[in-house]
Structure formats: C-alpha cells, structure tokens
Symmetry: C2
Subunit: 345 residues, 2 copies
C-alpha cells in the first residue's frame, strides 16, 4: 500500500498531507508553468466519462424517474444527472485491505493519509452552479452529499467527512465544471475538534446547545440575512472573510444524516437564494464553502451542523499566515445588510 | 478615540480585526472593481513623501555617513535610504492618551484594536527587493526591524510585534515598491502563543530549547538547505506551503533585540541567498515571510526567534479553510534539495 504522509508540525496541532501523487516538481511552480491554461477538454462533461475513475455514485435519468446506481469498473453510465467519482490524485486514499489504527498512526507526528477523496460532479451542464441551478437538481446534490457521508462515515478508519465546494479559479477550483469535493479523514480536523470541545464545555455548564443559542441571538440582530421555516442565515459576529455567511438548521441536529426530504428541499432553496444573492451583488465572486458536522454518535447533544460560506475577496498575507489573526475590511453588519437587500430585491 | 474592533469567534480562539478604516463597501469587491489596476504613482518612491504620514524612522545618507532620524509633522526628509511610516489605514492604531487594559478588553469576545501598524519602505529604489539588494542596504532593513521592535515592544499596551513581508500581488502586496510591514498587537497571536506553550512544556520536561533541538536534527537531515557560522536554514518537516523554509539563528535567543551587527550582517546575507535562490528557481514567485519572536522577558529560556518564509504557490481552498488541515504537493525533502542545488550553483 502506498499512502501520502500526514505530518504534524513540530509544536502546533497542525497537520499537513504531503501529497506527492500529483508528482509535481518544484519547477512546475515557476511563473510560466503557473500561468499555463488548461487544455480545452473538460473531464467532467458528458462524453468524457472515460477520463475519470468509475463513479461510486450516479443519479441516472430513466423512463421511470431518477435511479441511483454506480459505475462498473469497465463501464461508465452515460445518461447521468450527478456523478461522484474518486479523485484521480487523492490527498487521502482508501486502504486495499483491513487496516487498524496501529498501521495508520506511526508516531505522534506521523500518520498515513488513509481515507477518501471524491469529486461530486453536480450537473451534466458545465456551468450549472448552485446560484443558477433548478431546485430538483440541487436537491440531488444535497442528497448525494448525504449518501456519500453515510457510506464514508460507516468505515472504521474514517473519523471525519469534509464536504466542500470551491468556486472560481481564485478560490482554488482548477476545473470550472460545477463540482464539490468530499474528503474523509482518519481524525477530526482541528477547527471542528476545537468547536466540539468548546460546545461540549458550554453544554456541560448549561445543558444547552451553543449553536442553538447563537442562532437565537443572531435571529434578532443586525447580522441576520435570511430566516425561513427551517434555516437561519447570518454573517457571523467575527467573520474572518469579507461577506462570509453561515447557514444553520433550526432543528438541533449534529449531522446531515437525518435530514428529511422536505428539509433537503428547503436547504437547497436557502443555499440557492444566498449564493445567487452573492453572485448578483458581487458579479459572481469566487468562494469556498464547507460543512461543519460530526459523525460521532456521542456528540449529538452539543454539536449542531452548519454550512460556512467564505467569499474569496481578500488575500491572507504574511500577517495572517504567521500569526493566525485575521483582518476583515467589511463589517459583518454591513455584509448582512447588503446581502439582505440583494436577496429581497 | 476611534479604534477598529477585535472580535473573537463564538467558539474558536480566533481573533479578527474588523478594519473599517478603509471604508470599503461590499460592492467594492465586485469583479470590475477587483480587476482595477492602481494609478501609476507610487507613494513610496522618492519625491512622493507627502503622500505618506511623517516617518517614525528614517535612515538618511549624509556626508558623514548614515544618520538615523524621523520626520517632523510638517517636514519629510528627502535624502533617505529607509523610511518607516504609519500605515494610512492601520488595522491596529495607537491610543491618543494613556490606556489601561480595562479600556482595551470589552469582554471575552471583544477588544479594541490598540497597537501600531507601520510600513517599512526598504529602499528608495522601487524594485530593490531582498533577493537583489546590496547587503549594506539589507542590513539597514534588519536594523530598522530591530529599532522599531525595540520602540514598540516598550509600550505598555503592546504584547506582540509582528514583522512581515508580502512579495507580489498574489501574496497580498498591493503596492510593488519593496516594503515590509510591522504590526504591534495588544495580545500574543494564537500561532505564537501555541508555540510558546508547547516550547515551555518541552523546556519544563527537558530543560532544553525545543528549537535548538529541532535545529540539531534538521542540520543533519535531508531537509537542510543551508548552514553557515550563525544560521541554519531548512524546509520544516510538516511544511504547510510548497517550498516553505525557516531561518533559525544558532545562538539561542528569544527575540531579535540582542542581535549584534555581525549577526545582522550574516542574517542579511543568509536571507538574500535564500530569497535569491527561490527567485532563480521559480522565476520570482510571490511569497510572504514573518518573524516569530517573543517580547516577553520570562520566555527567554524556552523560545527561539526565527523567520518563516512561505512561497505562495498554492491556494487554500474549502478544505483547508473549513478544517485547518493542509495539503502540500511538494515534499519538504524535495523542496530542500532544489533550493540547496540552486543556491550552490
């Protein structure tokens, strides 16, 4: 088995995947290489299915409605609405046979990057991004997230599943076809783990969910962007990114796994409304979004899943990178007001 | 007094300056605005001294050698080699009168961004960056760092001084004139504070400096880039950025303040060698660097100042931003080998 290395900093609780699969040499980063444009062929467009590994999940359009399936090794379904395929250059890769934690953890600063890294192709139409897509298609995306989350979370070596989306070249999307990514990791990432610890402390003290508490306050304040029957959207108090917003479900749930179809529909509508507001307000800016959730059963009481959306409008430079303090040039209150107005106009 | 707000995340130990001084509206981030090029006038070039606030430090060329001075309010020195000026849009601003910690800390998630934010113009020549500059000029830069560090660290409301440099537009340098920045903060930033805690633990257990220990190992290993009489340069074991490297002084010192002139000279030479190697290898890539140091007297035993250099060759996207796990596509061993070869050729 050949895995990427997961290395921990000498002192900090900071883990890095040394991902050599792509086989990049240092000189690949020289300026002329950095500026190279990609070839014109999109490996995610229909007709190019052979350019990706077989799909682990496909939603197919059939005469009798939409059918869930997967590709066979030598066969790629053609008439698809969604395809979820393993990343050709995975940061985290599945073991070929059973693996125990002693084979994963090689020391306190070294592990093998066991896990999964998948690409979720959100539509057969190259440019059908969530800001513009029809709700039934976006529901398929949400259902794919849940489906993959369920399957990956059940694997014994998987401790967390990160579902995220990069939109636009400046936000790290090297291919412009509408897609999300799913990475399953052998440990809980630092940011989520810190949230879990803090929300557990709050719960022990008050027997309340801290996120329910935050939502209750933000619903009534100047940072509220949108509220409907099932979700609250607001610009967080200490937004790191200009125009950052979070979507929280009103129902206290630690993970996406129990989302009903009616909740999935409202979530798709909420997401589309917000992203299309952002697109209109700022002329289709690059952005990243990532789900925060837990797959651990014992954290259900105090954790609360949510989606964090980070427009990419600023550059983290020497100060941010060497200190971990951030500078945001738009107040969350102003951000919320602009998004609120755009959404309701 | 009007200060920016310093806000802490609901749960995480993550602080954000809400910097409204620049008065940016959300729509300033729309695509046509983002792509606007700057006017042709460089406020850092000689002749444009009136475009900046008066300098807090100037190195002047005189008939009798180099003289240290500062501007008067209504007067700007002309014949300068270095100018350090307050940032026109400071993230952290000095109080107009004496301020106590009760006036700074407004709660456990809110403070006023008291401090300093300065721009150090490294040369009268627009393009004289550290990879190309003459050593005597780069020594003036290093001496300016020390000089400003000494003055800012002595202020009662200053708990940390971050000295950093952004090179290239993609690394956040909005002006291309050779310059560094200095930000003094009212608390120790998370990354440095975590390093302090971990190195203190190591010291309590072993009575040794963990950085001296790291250096001793890295000097003999595959990640070494350069070693001279006073400094060791290596690619750190868990490099977050492709081609990242750190410069550590061999002499155990917690801060820059006691650097001798002979050490400053060797540091300038070491920095120039490494940055010029990086420039030749990757065709002048964007980068950030930041000093890690302490200004607290009681941390001298276990902390060890160093410079961290982060070439900007990758984009942190949804995964990195929402989890705090990083993916680096170049092994530190390969990075070190390439830099070593380029430097010695």
């Amino acid at each position: 088995m050949s895995f990427n290395e997961l290395r921990k900093d000498y002192l900090l609780d900071r883990w890095v995947v040394i991902a050599t699969e792509r086989g990049r040499r240092p000189t690949d980063f020289a300026k002329q290489e950095r500026q190279k444009t990609k070839s014109g062929i999109c490996p995610m467009c229909p007709g190019n299915e052979h350019m990706t590994p077989p799909a682990v999940l496909v939603y197919l359009k059939t005469n009798r409605g939409i059918k869930k399936s997967k590709d066979e090794n030598s066969f790629r379904h053609k008439n698809w609405l969604i395809r979820c395929v393993p990343n050709l250059f995975p940061a985290f890769a599945p073991p070929k046979e059973k693996i125990d934690s002693g084979q994963i953890w090689k020391g306190n600063d070294l592990a093998v990057a066991v896990g999964h890294h998948e690409v979720l192709i959100e539509s057969p139409n190259h440019d059908e991004h969530p800001a513009d897509v029809q709700i039934p298609q976006l529901m398929l995306v949400v259902n794919s997230y849940i489906n993959r989350l369920r399957e990956l979370a059940a694997k014994p070596y998987v401790k967390y599943v990160s579902i995220f989306r990069n939109h636009g070249l400046e936000a790290g999307a090297s291919l412009s076809h509408a897609h999300s990514q799913i990475i399953a990791t052998p440990f809980t990432p630092r940011i989520v783990s810190d949230e879990l610890k803090a929300s557990k402390r709050f719960w022990k003290k008050t027997r309340k969910c801290v996120f329910c508490d935050i939502m209750k306050k933000e619903r009534k304040g100047p940072r509220l962007i949108l509220e409907n029957s099932k979700f609250v959207v607001f610009a967080p108090y200490a937004s790191v990114h200009p125009m950052e917003f979070w979507i929280l479900p009103k129902k206290h749930e630690a993970t996406l796994l129990d989302l009903s179809q009616s909740e999935a529909k409202t979530f798709a509508e909420t997401l589309k409304t917000c992203l299309s507001g952002l697109k209109r307000l700022l002329n289709d800016p690059p952005y990243n979004y990532g789900f925060h959730l837990t797959i651990k059963k014992d954290t259900c009481d105090f954790y609360h899943w949510h989606l964090e959306v980070y427009p990419k409008l600023a550059i983290w430079a020497g100060f941010e990178k060497s200190t971990g303090i951030y500078i945001n040039t738009v107040t969350p209150e102003t951000a919320a007001e602009s998004l609120r107005k755009t959404i309701s106009s």
